[in-house]
């Protein structure tokens, strides 16, 4: 089986280890990974800010780069939901592009979704002794309806104990440009998220979205709170022994 990796802009620039981990996990499952080099960004930032014409430019480019791939894997619930839920809507007035957008939308998978629903992942050579909690990001949970999938794959990691996160469905306050435009509200939300993380008793937070990771982690760091944050793929890539 061959899959194309859409690494996403945040992973590419800030968290390349996440991309590497995705490649490692997929390859360990016998999947061939390709990386279309012309890929850029899915266009979510401009879409959510209201600049749909600019977002269309990004979306058209994405479609051109990825439309011949059978499986497109993104280590991000938020980018996958942009492509799956919003691309077809963006091109409502352009029937030809709408059709192409719908085809791409059907082929995009968030990382844990692919592992569970396409690969039917049974076993992993992963070990991660830690008391962790899982932050369910909004686009991943409410947008794509992927709530149990990350927990399912994480349950196959040896030594990993997952503690429930109080008010787990609450947004962390990232929201892309929301965190730039409404910093006070965004920070208030992050602060409450940290409180709940502390209450969970976990010393590691695992998530499927790098936006949330950057936001919660960035706030925790400023507060001098040593919360450790990792993407699901990074935990799965930690080999036994």
């Amino acid at each position: 089986m061959k899959v194309a990796l859409f690494v996403t802009c945040l992973a590419d620039v800030f968290f390349p280890d996440v991309g590497k981990s995705v490649v490692q996990v997929l390859e360990s499952q016998g999947v061939e990974v390709v990386f279309p080099p012309d890929q850029t960004c899915c266009g979510q930032v401009t879409f959510n800010s209201g600049y749909w014409e600019d977002s269309k430019k990004s979306a058209k480019h994405f479609i051109e780069v990825f439309e011949n791939e059978e499986y497109i894997i993104a280590p991000s619930g938020s980018c996958a939901s942009m492509i799956r839920l919003h691309y077809p809507k963006l091109f409502e007035d352009e029937p030809n592009w709408k059709k192409r957008a719908e085809q791409v939308a059907e082929r995009v998978y968030e990382f844990s979704e692919f592992l569970v629903h396409v690969l039917g992942l049974e076993q992993l050579q992963a070990s991660f002794p830690a008391k962790a909690t899982y932050h369910q990001s909004c686009h991943m949970g409410r947008g794509l309806g992927l709530i149990n999938e990350p927990l399912q794959v994480l349950s196959k990691v040896e030594g990993l104990q997952i503690e429930p996160l109080p008010n787990q469905e609450d947004c962390c306050g990232f929201g892309g440009t929301f965190s730039v435009k409404m910093p006070e509200i965004s920070v208030a939300m992050a602060s409450e998220k940290i409180k709940h993380i502390n209450e969970s008793g976990a010393d590691l937070v695992i998530t499927s979205d790098l936006g949330c990771l950057m936001h919660i982690g960035g706030f925790a760091k400023r507060q001098g709170n040593g919360i450790r944050m990792l993407h699901v793929a990074e935990v799965l890539a930690n080999q036994k022994g």
């Binding site: 390349p16 209201g50 306050g173 929201g175 509200i185 960035g218 706030f219």
Partner: protein, 462 residues
């Protein structure tokens, strides 16, 4: 509805600084969340209920003209008067004229956000009429010259101590901060007003088109007194507040209290079918129903039409993390929370209220919680799009968006941009990410991007 004399930023920052309110809103949200989930599960298939409710509302709104006609014809058959008001001024003029005609000195009011929206109290006071709010929350707000902060719990932001102070001023003696005692004071104070009032004014949760009836749900019992004791009863309702028949009402009335307060049912559901009839012992001699447009019809036939499905349960506020931290006053309009952020700009005007659309992280909790399935967070994205299409003062942001769009369509430009992300300017405390970094650390860009790593390690493999 009018914009208070403060900027959105000021209102947000005041909201954030109100520690008492933040605490209480958080607790109420947590309580409602638990209650609502349990109470909803009892219904069985929640999604089916929501779907049915959404269909009822959408069908009614799609055929609103026909149902409004049926509703008003039936009211008249029952001996009531109907008035259609295009805006606040028209509605107020009509109610003033009814008050003058009946030489009204005192009005008691209950359960109406629309009258808040059209500033009816002020209009009545202008012609020398005394107005008394009789819902406990509204009563507190009125005595304190404040504004409601939640659709269902208008005085949610006030503590028992604050209420005791407000009531003590009115009572002319010090009242204890005790719920029983404060309730007793309000009850005694208002009972006198009920008996004295010449006119009662209420809102309307649902108008039943097939019978021309008005249905109001409440927990305090004051709706009954407001609508039956005074000589004249005036109902003020938004034009979208209809259901075709009692069968559909049944579905919506099952969802309203469950969504609003996590109650299985509500203490009172008052159905009013007209003025006092010949052999009735009680009831008003004259019954008026004022159907208010005031910007609602601007939504008809647009992509935002479903916002008119709203049954004013306030559940979107009960789950909204932004509302949780900034409170209801920050929204500026009469309708707060996610539904307020959607309908205030649409019913009034977008440029003046454009910031509301951006006061959301688009987490989707509101859409998930809405019992009539209004796509609230999707509407906020649509509104943002409308803002960029119509607004003229976002030039620098617009340029960044254009540059970004162009760069993402050209991989080499995009990679140049990625390199630029490493420039100290962008991440410096003076750069565009300044606000981000006031309370958060931005991660350092990695020494080697993923694509560079791929080229180096997997080069040639594509």
């Amino acid at each position: 509805m009018s914009m208070p004399n403060q900027t959105f930023r000021t209102r947000v920052s005041e909201g954030l600084q109100d520690a008492y309110r933040r605490n209480v809103v958080g607790k109420v949200q947590d309580y409602f969340r638990a209650m609502r989930n349990n109470i909803f599960e009892e219904l069985g298939n929640v999604e089916e209920w929501r779907e049915r409710a959404a269909q009822i509302r959408s069908h009614t709104i799609e055929n609103l003209d026909a149902y409004l006609e049926m509703f008003s014809e039936n009211i008249q058959k029952n001996g009531g008067h109907v008035a259609f008001a295009a805006d606040a001024a028209e509605a107020n003029r009509y109610i003033q004229s009814v008050a003058k005609q009946h030489e009204v000195k005192t009005v008691v009011k209950s359960k109406s956000m629309v009258t808040e929206e059209i500033h009816l109290n002020g209009a009545l006071e202008d012609i020398g009429v005394e107005v008394f709010e009789t819902d406990l929350g509204e009563f507190i707000i009125q005595l304190d010259n404040d504004r409601p902060s939640h659709i269902v719990g208008p005085a949610m932001h006030k503590s028992k101590q604050q209420v005791a102070e407000i009531f003590s001023k009115k009572a002319g003696e010090t009242l204890p901060a005790d719920a029983q005692e404060l309730g007793r004071f309000a009850r005694e104070y208002l009972r006198d007003k009920f008996f004295r009032a010449d006119m009662g004014i209420t809102g309307c949760n649902f108008g039943v088109a097939e019978s021309g009836s008005v249905v109001i749900v409440s927990n305090e019992g004051n709706v009954e007194m407001t609508s039956s004791l005074p000589r004249v009863h005036v109902v003020v309702m938004g034009m979208e507040r209809l259901v075709p028949s009692w069968e559909e009402l049944d579905v919506l009335i099952s969802l309203l209290p469950r969504s609003a307060t996590g109650q299985r049912t509500i203490s009172y559901a008052t159905a009013i079918h007209g003025p006092k009839r010949e052999n009735d012992l009680d009831g008003p001699e004259e019954w008026h129903v004022v159907i208010v447009d005031n910007g609602r019809s601007k939504l008809l036939g647009t992509k935002y039409q479903q916002a008119l499905n709203c049954i004013r349960c306030g559940n979107c506020s009960n789950v909204c993390p932004v509302y949780r931290h900034i409170g209801g006053h920050a929204y500026g309009g009469v309708y707060n929370g996610p539904i307020g952020a959607v309908i205030t700009p649409l019913m009034e005007n977008l440029p003046e209220w454009k910031e509301l659309a951006f006061a959301s992280s688009l987490c989707g909790a509101c859409t998930e919680a809405c019992p009539v399935k209004i796509p609230l967070h999707e509407y906020l994205i649509e509104l943002r799009h409308d803002v960029t299409e119509t607004s003229e003062d976002t030039w620098s942001e617009r340029m960044v968006a254009h540059l970004f769009g162009t760069a993402t369509a050209h991989p080499s430009l995009y990679e140049m941009g990625q390199k630029a992300a490493r420039l100290p300017f962008l991440s410096s405390a003076a750069g565009p990410m300044k606000a981000w970094q006031e309370n958060r650390d931005l991660p350092e860009p990695a020494k080697q991007t993923f694509r560079d790593w791929w080229r180096q390690h997997k080069g040639g493999e594509r």
